[in-house]
Symmetry: C2
Subunit: 417 residues, 2 copies
C-alpha cells in the first residue's frame, strides 16, 4: 500500500491533504481500454453547427432532474416550500434558479416603479423610498446562507426519512448578496431612544410580518437588491428583501414594504403560533433566532451509489449562524473515530463552507457522519444530544449530525446511528 493511503481514522479516512500530493494516482475508477480510444472520443456534436448565442442561458436539458422539489398546498398552491437539491450541487454558491423557497401566499409580481419602502415608528422623521432612489445608495456585498428555521425538521421523526440530502436539508441556500446596510437608512430617519425592535413586513398577499431586535438590524442587516450579481428574482423577494445574516430564514422578509421601529415585538403569527417551541420542562422557547452550527455530507448521500471499492472523495457543506466554520470532522465508522476534513477557501462567516476528505472504501458496511465546529466553540450535536436538550416534539432548529449508511452493495441510506 502507498504510504499516503495509510488511514488516519477508522473506516478508511485518509489525510485531507492527500490529493494535493505529487505522484499520487487515483486509479480506482475503471477507464476504457486504449484500443477503443479513437472511436470513443468522437462526438456527434462535431458533425453539425450548434445553436446560436442567447440573451440569457439555461441549464442543459440533460440536467433537468436537478430542480427544486416543490411542495405546495393543494388548496393554495402559492403556500408551501421548495428545496434546493444540495445533493446534486458543488462548491459554495447556490445558483439563483435553485435557491429554496418558502411562500405564504404565492410569489407576487411587483413592478418596482410602484413599490415603496417605508421606514417609520420610533424615528425622528418617517421616510418613504422609491426603489430607484434606493438603488443609488452605497451598497456592500457579502456571501451568506439563508436557512429556514424549519429546515431538516424530518430529523425529529422517530424513523429516519429516506430522501435525497437536498430534499431533506435543502431549505438552506447560499448566495452573494448586495445591498444597503439598513443602519444607514435608520440613521437617516433618526432612531428614537425607546426603539428596541423592528417590525418587517412584506408586500405579498399574506403581508408576512415579523419582529427583529433593533440591535441585530443595526449590526449587519442589509436591504438586499442583488443576488449572485443580478437583481433578486421574484421568488427571492424582488425588488427588495431583508437580509438577516445567520438568523432564521423567516426573518429575511421578501418583497419588503416597511420597517417599523417599536419598543416591543409585534407578536406575529410567525413568532407565536410558529417558531415557538415547547421544551421538555414545560417552558416555551421563543425568539430563538440564530441558526445553529450544522453540516451535511452531500456525496455520498441517500440515493447515490458507490460502484466499486476504492478511493472516493467525501464532500459536503457546513455552516453556522454564529460565525465561521473552523473545523469539520468526518467519521467513517459511525462516530467511533474522526478525521479533519479540508475546508475549501475562502471560509466566510455565516456562509456555506464546502468540506472534502479522501476515503478508501473497502467494500464493506460503513456509517458516514460529519460534525461541524464554529469559531464561537459551538459543536454540532449528535441526534440523541439534541433530543435530550430539546425534547421529542421539536420542529424547528434541527441541526443534529446526519448519518449515512453505506451497504456492502454500495447503496446509501439514512440512519440514526
Amino acid at each position: 500500500m502507498h504510504d499516503e493511503l495509510k488511514p488516519i481514522a477508522g473506516g478508511g479516512l485518509l489525510d485531507r491533504r492527500l490529493f494535493l500530493k505529487k505522484g499520487l494516482t487515483f486509479s480506482s475508477i475503471a477507464w476504457l481500454a486504449p484500443s477503443v480510444m479513437a472511436e470513443e472520443v468522437r462526438s456527434d456534436a462535431m458533425t453539425r453547427p450548434g445553436r446560436a448565442l442567447s440573451n440569457y442561458g439555461k441549464p442543459s436539458n440533460y440536467e433537468n432532474k436537478v430542480i427544486r422539489w416543490t411542495m405546495g398546498n393543494a388548496a393554495a398552491p402559492g403556500n408551501g416550500v421548495s428545496w434546493t437539491p444540495l445533493h446534486a450541487l458543488e462548491g459554495m454558491i447556490t445558483p439563483n434558479g435553485l435557491h429554496f423557497e418558502r411562500h405564504h401566499n404565492g410569489v407576487p409580481d411587483i413592478d418596482p416603479q410602484y413599490h415603496h419602502l417605508l421606514i417609520h415608528g420610533l424615528v425622528n422623521r418617517a421616510l418613504v423610498f422609491r426603489i430607484e432612489d434606493l438603488l443609488r445608495y452605497p451598497m456592500t456585498s457579502r456571501y451568506c446562507f439563508i436557512e429556514c428555521g424549519g429546515n431538516s425538521n424530518a430529523g425529529w421523526h422517530s424513523e429516519p426519512m429516506q430522501t435525497e440530502a437536498g430534499y431533506f436539508h435543502g431549505m438552506a441556500s447560499c448566495s452573494e448578496w448586495t445591498g444597503i446596510p439598513v443602519k444607514m437608512l435608520f440613521n437617516e430617519a433618526g432612531i428614537k431612544g425607546r426603539a428596541k425592535w423592528v417590525i418587517a413586513e412584506g408586500a405579498d398577499a399574506s403581508m408576512m410580518n415579523i419582529s427583529l431586535p433593533l440591535e441585530k438590524v443595526l449590526d449587519d442587516c442589509l436591504l438586499a437588491f442583488y443576488q449572485n450579481g443580478e437583481r433578486i428574482r421574484p421568488e427571492n423577494g424582488y425588488p427588495v428583501r431583508l437580509l438577516v445574516p445567520g438568523w432564521e430564514g423567516v426573518l429575511n422578509v421578501k418583497w419588503l414594504r416597511r420597517l417599523r421601529l417599536t419598543n416591543r415585538p409585534v407578536m406575529a403569527r410567525n413568532e407565536t403560533a410558529k417558531y415557538t417551541e415547547l421544551l421538555p420542562n414545560g417552558m416555551a422557547e421563543q425568539f430563538s433566532f440564530v441558526m445553529g452550527v450544522k453540516s451535511l455530507i452531500t456525496r455520498p448521500s441517500y440515493g447515490q451509489q458507490l460502484d466499486n471499492p476504492g478511493l472516493y472523495q467525501i464532500t459536503g457543506l457546513a455552516w453556522s449562524g454564529h460565525g465561521k466554520i473552523v473545523k469539520v470532522e468526518v467519521s467513517a465508522d459511525g462516530g467511533k473515530s474522526w478525521a479533519d476534513a479540508q475546508l475549501q477557501e475562502p471560509v466566510l462567516s455565516k456562509c456555506f463552507t464546502r468540506f472534502r476528505i479522501p476515503w478508501q472504501w473497502d467494500g464493506k458496511k460503513a456509517v458516514l457522519k460529519s460534525r461541524a465546529i464554529d469559531d464561537r466553540g459551538n459543536q454540532q450535536p449528535e441526534r440523541y444530544e439534541l433530543i435530550q436538550a430539546k425534547g421529542q416534539q421539536g420542529y424547528f432548529h434541527y441541526n443534529a449530525i446526519v448519518s449515512w449508511a453505506i451497504a456492502d452493495d454500495g447503496s446509501v441510506s439514512h440512519v440514526y446511528a
Copy 2:
C-alpha cells in the same frame, strides 16, 4: 460641511471608509413627503395570491433588459460573441445565465452519456474517461474570472465608442468553478519527460483547438464541471470545460474532448491567425497568455444618469490574470489626483474584485477613472502608455484605464482623457 465630507482627492472623492461611520446620513436623494406615506406603500400585490412555487426560477420580467448583448455572424449564427451586462450587475459573481459567450460554430447539445475525454500523446498510458467516472474524482472549487483576449478591443479605435460598460468590456465574467485538477489525471496517465505543451480540443463543430504550456496546466488548471454550484451550462462547455485561471479566455476550451501532451505547440488558427499581434518594432507577439491588470467603473458609466448634485457611491470591478488586486485608485478630476477605493472582501487571486468609493458630485463636469494594481506590482496603464508600448494596430489585451466624462446635466459618456 460635515467633517467626513472633506474630500481626499480632487473632484469630490471622499474617504473610502466614510459610509461605515456612525451618524452619517445620505440625504442627497429626494424622499417622498411623509404625508403621502400611507398610500404610497400600499401595493397591488397585497390584494391577490401570487404565483406558485417553481422547479427552477428566472429573473423578474421587469429586468428583461438585463441581458447578454449578442453579435452573431449573419451567415453562421453560431459564430459570434455575447457580452455580460456588467453595467447592470453588482457584487463579484456573474450569474450563469449572463456569462459572456464566444462560439466558433455554435453551442453543441451534448449528451454526457456519449461524451468522452481522451488524455494521450506523450504519456505512459493513454486514458479515456467517461463523464460519469470523472464526476467521482476529487474536486476543488475556486472563484475565477474568464476574460476573452479580445475583450475591450474597441479601445484601440481612434474615437471613444459610446456603449454601455458591459457591452464594451463584458467579454469578462466571474464564477465559482468546481472541478478536477488536471494534474491529477496527468499523473495517472504518467507524463513523459519530453512533454512541454498540451493541445486542448473541443467537441463542437469547429473542433476548436489550442496549445497551452504543460507547466501552467500542472500549476492550476481544472477540468471544470460545475459553475456557481450547478453543472456548467451548454454555452459554457457542458459537460466539461478546461479552466485556465487568469489566462486568455480562448484557452479555456469548452466541450473538452481531448488533451494531447506534445513537445511543441500545434500552431492552431487561434494562436497564429488570431491572438498574435504585430508590434510597432515589426516583431510579432505570440503566446501572450496572461490577461493584464484591469479595472472599470460600472456605476456611473455610459448610459446612466446622475439626477442631482450630492453624494454617490462610485463602484466597479478590478481583476488581474497575474494574481490578487491589492489596490484600486479612483480619480474624479481626469487623473490629476487619485484616492484609494475600498476593496470588497474576499479579495481573491485571478478573480473579480468589487471596489467602491464615496463621491460628492458638485454638479459640474468631471472625468472619472479607475486604476488597478496587482500583487505582482503591475499597474493598469493609461491609454497612451498602452499605445506607446503596443502600437495603434492592436486588437487583443486592451487593458487601459477607462475614462467616463460626467456632463453638467449628469449624463455620462466615454472619453479618451
